[in-house]
């Protein structure tokens, strides 16, 4: 069933009784060409691009819970390609381009909304860093605009420009950045992959890998053994646990990233704004809630919840930056477990086990990366070579020293 205004009209007039399931609910087959572990944004996107770009259709996605129950279902929905380093920026720019054509391609409105993202700066060194970053973005085709105070004031008059502690000097603006309705991404990709023959299998947890002679030949699951020529693991938040089943240790720690949403409000904030002198970023959803967050709590955890001091710290940043939001009420705070890697950048790579591939370490930036993450992992699975924009995202980069450390914090995951 193709989605369109006409279809809505037709269904509306007949009591909305004709809508069909967006995906099948197939039982797993005994063998697939490729098994993708993880039914989140990256896993589903990988399956979709395996079929759409590489013509592979004998593909299954295994999700231990409901579809999109991981980080794609609990993030702050921001998309951007405002990275600094050449190991990252072209990759995120590919992702941005995929976002830009996504809805028409998969016939699903994920509400890709390019309202722009502004990273504020408050000091000369921050400005210098913003200029370096902005130029790196332009080199990669991502586009960037440096806003001075007056230009910024026209866009965001509600900011506390003369904050007594950290006055705002300007901002680096990526007009193409924005937000996406996060759940819809996984639904749209799943529907499109399903229509091309991918088996999207929910409530099927991988409990082990069938590894013989250093070769991965399939997975064991709560719904039986499934053989596969290639297995790809995209389970950010659970990467260490799942890969440990294959006997692998990763340069990853699991941390909780909290976020908050307020009650619905009439439009107040135009795009995404990040505070350069505190821990706070915010956007407003189409439903009117202010969606905001800050840094991770900072300790290893697999509990999908955090603690109050982090939320307080984030709200302090919010009130320092835009005191007009004070009377907006936080409706819900939640936490997602993120893979924090040792340099703050992800991995899309083969593993020491032949036939076993890994995508993870997305830190708290995995959502915006889902299209390119899926695209590049599909490329690696289908062609056997890394996609050029993901070539630096290797598992062995800490041994070689070719790290991708955007923040310059070194091998301390909670600082990235």
């Amino acid at each position: 069933m193709r989605y369109s205004a006409l279809q809505i009209l037709k269904e509306g007039l007949t009591g909305n009784r004709g809508w069909k399931p967006v995906w099948r609910e197939p039982d797993p087959k005994p063998h697939y060409d490729v098994v993708v572990v993880g039914g989140g944004g990256h896993g589903i996107a990988t399956a979709y691009y395996l079929t759409a770009v590489h013509g592979l259709t004998d593909v299954a996605v295994l999700e231990k819970s409901w579809l999109g129950s991981g980080n794609v279902g609990r993030n702050t929905t921001i998309i951007r390609s405002n990275y600094l380093l050449s190991g990252n920026e072209p990759f995120y720019e590919l992702s941005m381009r995929l976002w830009e054509g996504l809805e028409q391609e998969i016939n699903y409105n994920a509400m890709v909304s390019q309202r722009g993202i502004i990273n504020l700066y408050h000091t000369d060194p921050q400005r210098d860093a913003a200029v370096r970053r902005g130029n790196a973005m332009i080199l990669a085709g991502a586009g960037a605009v440096l806003l001075d105070r007056e230009a910024l004031r026209r866009q965001c008059p509600f900011l506390d420009f003369d904050n007594e502690r950290f006055p705002i000097k300007g901002g680096l603006w990526q007009p193409r950045g924005g937000t996406v309705r996060h759940d819809a991404v996984v639904w749209g990709y799943a529907r499109a992959a399903d229509r091309r023959g991918v088996d999207v299998i929910q409530h099927c947890e991988v409990t082990g890998f069938d590894i013989r002679d250093g070769v991965c030949r399939g997975v064991e699951t709560t719904r039986g053994a499934i053989a596969a020529n290639k297995v790809a693991v995209c389970v950010a938040g659970s990467s260490s646990r799942v890969m440990a089943l294959a006997g692998l240790r990763l340069p990853i720690e699991s941390h909780v990233l909290q976020a908050c949403v307020t009650e619905g409000l009439k439009p107040a904030i135009p795009g995404v704004i990040t505070f350069g002198a505190g821990h706070f970023y915010v956007s407003q959803s189409d439903k009117g809630g202010l969606v905001f967050g800050g840094d991770i709590d900072g300790y290893n955890t697999y509990a999908q919840r955090g603690n109050l001091p982090t939320v307080e710290d984030v709200c302090e940043g919010g009130m320092a930056l835009m005191p007009m939001i004070g009377r907006a009420r936080v409706l819900r705070m939640w936490g997602g477990v993120v893979d924090m890697s040792m340099d703050g950048s992800p991995f899309i790579d083969r593993t020491p086990v032949t036939g076993l591939y890994f995508s993870g370490g997305w830190c708290y930036g995995g959502f915006k990366a889902a299209p390119a993450g899926g695209y590049c992992l599909a490329h690696l699975l289908a062609t056997g070579t890394s996609h050029p924009v993901a070539a630096a995202m290797r598992l062995d980069r800490f041994a070689s020293g070719a790290v991708i450390d955007e923040k310059g914090m070194g091998a301390q995951p909670n600082l990235h």
């Binding site: 240790r249 900072g298 290893n300 697999y302 509990a303 091998a411």
Partner: protein
């Protein structure tokens, strides 16, 4: 969170700074033949368990002790708190 400091009693975790896996105490010997590999693993490769985790916390806004806290990463329950210096000495670290 509250960390029950072995010398000071329960203190809010906000007084502490987190570092990570307590295996960071086991710094390799720079003169070992495969020191490069050992240092790589020491610094970068972690068990990252879902369950009991021994980890380093620094009482930065307190008595400046480094502590080894054994905490369950699924429930956040703290099972044991030790002075990291005692742990290091027990592991044979000295001069």
């Amino acid at each position: 969170m509250i960390i029950d400091h072995p010398l000071l009693g329960p203190r809010d975790a906000a007084e502490f700074v987190y570092l990570g896996d307590a295996s960071l105490i086991d710094r390799p010997d720079w003169q070992d033949e495969d020191a490069a590999r050992q240092f790589h693993d020491y610094l970068h490769v972690r068990d990252n368990p879902a369950g009991e985790h021994r980890e380093l916390w620094f009482h930065e806004h307190g008595d400046r002790s480094w502590l080894v806290v054994t905490r369950n990463t699924l429930t956040h329950e703290i099972i044991r708190v030790e002075l990291a210096r005692d742990v290091a000495l027990s592991l044979g670290r000295g001069r």
